[in-house]
Symmetry: C2
């Protein structure tokens, strides 16, 4: 039983426990007790694996996913014994996946994707279901991930087996690989040399040929230094090019200098392969719309909070009907506009000086920088939830929706003085946090003959169709404010088509 302080194991014991667990899943025949770590031995350890690996493991021919996994796991176990470069070798899950892949190929004759059966290592910043992601710190120990980082998910979907997680400097903040879990990682060419950082574990493992490809990250040189120190190819892509979502880091929410995920490998071809595969999944959800193709268009009729006034509902119907007549498919669509508005207001007010009428907040103390970074992360999560929702529109073999239609505002252009009464910017603001593009298109002008007022009960429209009852005072005010005669000729009924362009 570990000694505890207020129920929390002391950090040294938690680190020791983690060290014991790193290779615990690896088959015992892959563990060679006589191999030990050293910070003083200058001789290269590159030839050591050949003494342990079987001819099958060393030869170059076609192998099963399980054989390839075993070969790399064996080599990674040797690497870890010598270099202290791994923080996790999740062999059980890898083996299950490799077997699945072999069976799939056996049964269908097809591979599951372009990385079918390829073992890939990831810096211990990449969340991987069932493993602890430490980012070099003790505190995450004991809390296995329940989600994959997006880049990990993309690699898994392409058929890769994430077989090892590698050591790094604490919080990715230092150019050598030293942390309180493992101590210091070494360079396989000469163990008195640094393997670099912050992604030194990746550098050492790949430099030792114990992983064919690794995913790392770079804010100030973390892909490039370890690549240089082990003679590898490493790409720091343009910021944002490779998905970073659900990678653990220090300084989360800091937006000024962006950390970016990138590959490391022994060859430029492997770096190119990774980059091409990830970019081809269109992680930013770009889908150039081919002219003439039938589109799937989401329709956000209302956000369950403020019902658009009759001319705006009519405009939406006109556009939807025209799209349908042109052969496109319409699908229902909603956005959590309430959450979007809350986030926008919190950002707008966060220095406590943005008082241009946005005084909906009682607390005017400026955010601290850490609170601001936390808010950034909340916005990022909202962005991810919208993308997820968008992806989920792909159903029954049909692709995800191409764009969505929504009102710009629930009210037509207000009379001067009325704006604060009908002000409701949730329909517009909800695409600003996800950074989606949006095109406003005019549909027509208020026509008192067409755009009739709802019944004064507000529970039926002019034709007697039922309406949802008002949800709040703002909703009721917006509905009551519409009057066909006052607003005739008003163009405020344009609808916006949010497109993925």
């Amino acid at each position: 039983m570990a000694s505890t302080l207020n129920g929390i194991s002391l950090w040294e014991e938690r680190a020791q426990d983690k060290r014991r667990r790193i290779l615990s899943q690896v088959p015992s025949e892959f563990i060679h007790q006589e191999l030990t770590h050293s910070l003083e031995d200058v001789s290269s350890v590159q030839d050591i694996p050949s003494k342990y690996l079987s001819p099958t493991e060393l030869a170059t021919k076609i192998y099963s996913a399980v054989e390839v996994l075993n070969a790399f796991t064996h080599r990674a176990a040797i690497a870890h014994r010598l270099l202290h470069c791994c923080l996790d070798v999740p062999y059980h899950a890898s083996l299950v996946r490799a077997k699945e892949l072999d069976e799939y190929l056996e049964k269908t004759g097809n591979t599951i994707g372009p990385l079918h059966g390829l073992p890939i290592s990831v810096k211990d910043q990449c969340r991987l279901i069932g493993t602890e992601t430490t980012c070099g710190s003790i505190y995450p120990l004991g809390n296995p991930d329940t989600d994959d980082a997006v880049v990990v998910k993309i690699l898994k979907d392409a058929g890769a087996v994430i077989f090892a997680k590698t050591s790094l400097s604490i919080g990715c903040m230092w150019g050598e690989t030293v942390n309180n879990i493992l101590g210091r990682a070494c360079n396989p060419f000469n163990r008195t040399f640094s393997c670099g950082g912050s992604s030194g574990g990746e550098g050492a493992l790949i430099g030792f040929h114990a992983s064919p490809l690794g995913i790392s990250s770079d804010l100030g040189g973390s892909v490039r230094s370890p690549s240089a120190y082990q003679g590898l190819c490493g790409l720091r892509p343009t910021s944002g090019r490779i998905p970073y979502y659900r990678m653990l880091n220090s300084m989360e929410g800091q937006q000024t200098i962006l950390s970016v995920a990138g590959p490391m490998a022994t060859t430029a071809e492997a770096v190119e392969l990774f980059t091409k595969i990830v970019v081809d999944t269109r992680p930013w959800m770009l889908d150039p719309i081919t002219s003439g193709r039938k589109l799937r268009i989401g329709v956000l009729e209302w956000d369950d909070i403020c019902l658009p006034q009759p001319p705006i509902r009519n405009a939406l119907k006109i556009v939807a009907k025209a799209l349908k007549a042109a052969g496109h498919e319409l699908v229902p669509w909603k956005l959590d506009t309430n959450r979007a508005v809350e986030l926008v207001l919190r950002v707008m007010c966060e220095v406590g000086r943005a008082t241009y009428g946005v005084g909906l907040r009682s607390r005017w103390r400026p955010n601290t920088l850490l609170e601001s970074w936390d808010l950034s992360m909340e916005c990022l999560d909202f962005r991810a939830s919208v993308l997820k929702q968008w992806h989920e529109t792909a159903r029954d073999g049909l692709p995800e929706m191409d764009a969505f239609l929504a009102p710009v505002n629930p009210a037509v252009a207000p009379r001067h003085g009325d704006y604060s009464k009908v002000r409701y910017f949730a329909y517009t603001a909800s695409v600003n946090i996800p950074r989606l593009p949006r095109l406003t298109i005019p549909v027509g002008f208020v026509d008192p003959k067409m755009d009739l007022a709802d019944e004064t009960s507000l529970t039926k429209d002019a034709e007697g169709n039922p309406l949802p009852p008002p949800t709040c005072e703002r909703d009721e005010t917006i509905r009551r404010k519409f009057d066909p005669e006052t607003y005739k000729g008003n163009a405020g009924d344009a609808t916006g088509g949010g497109e993925k362009i």
Copy 2:
């Protein structure tokens, strides 16, 4: 003489002075005193211009740039009298430019670009040389811009004439167009209606057909609401798609929810035209490198602070020689690495907790949020300066450089314990702020026969070629630390090719 408080004119007088100046450059025959502003008149003002414009101004045939400018300026003057929608009509500069364009066409038979002679209006957030950019506030009055916003520059280069700057809500923070300079702007369809905001001046001017195309911005709906209220097409593009640099805003440096520039117009074709023209200028500096084409490669031999050790200098020479032999052109290149490192350290330490060895800063008070936003703006300026420098490599009819070569670090992989002595991450960090991609490529291993130590004086290399004297203690330490025998077989000499991919 305006009354002053501590030498500063009172805001009401400064606003009044600005109002007097708005149409001061416009030819007097375009000013119709009988046209006045109203917040109560419900009748549309859309037919008023036809009473004032000459048949030439109204007809549709081919006109000179000067004729087109005059027609739109006349109409904009009428719009402003009726709607209070303009903050500047810089007629003198527009006329000079329009004449230049006419002469160029006359002389060469060619247009200057796809927008040759087209008058374009911009929200008064867009800096335009010689005008005051207010963003709806009094304080910038009296300080004319000395630079154009990047989007303005792109439009000018394409032949456009920026002929009007339009009113907006204070700091772009409200959905109606009201500020202390002009008061309230109106909707041309019915002046008792709001023209929306924050870009309501654009909405009113374009809705009045007094501008064919306008540039606006959108953080929470500012392009879309005015578009909806005046029945226009308006595009809020994906964040970052259209250059935003040198647009004035409130909350500058705030990175969580990004304001984005976008076009407004009466037709979707105009919106598309603008977007295509801007994107085709590759504002993000992307230039897919065509295989087989001769490239221009920058070479950053050293940063004038820390000279790379001999094997790294040799590796750079090997790569440069190979590129030259393959027919590519090499050009010298430098980066202000000192400034880059300063910025990276300030960001890394800004919450005062990033103490993982980065303790180079004496002040550990966390930044306030405003200080952090200011730091963001400094990083943005650095990014702009690197892009500018990159563009300036285009000379004597040759295109700008395609990529650049630089060392990853000045030192090879250090022995354990030496890292803090040779630590110098300026070569890597300097591309992280500009968010450029960078590929690390291996060149070889330290070879004691090739990679000879410099003379102990450090003023000559092993072959007697002069070296710059050490610039600082760090530089000297890095140079002295290299020893061919200790570091033989070290791979830390890889060089990085920073590519525009």
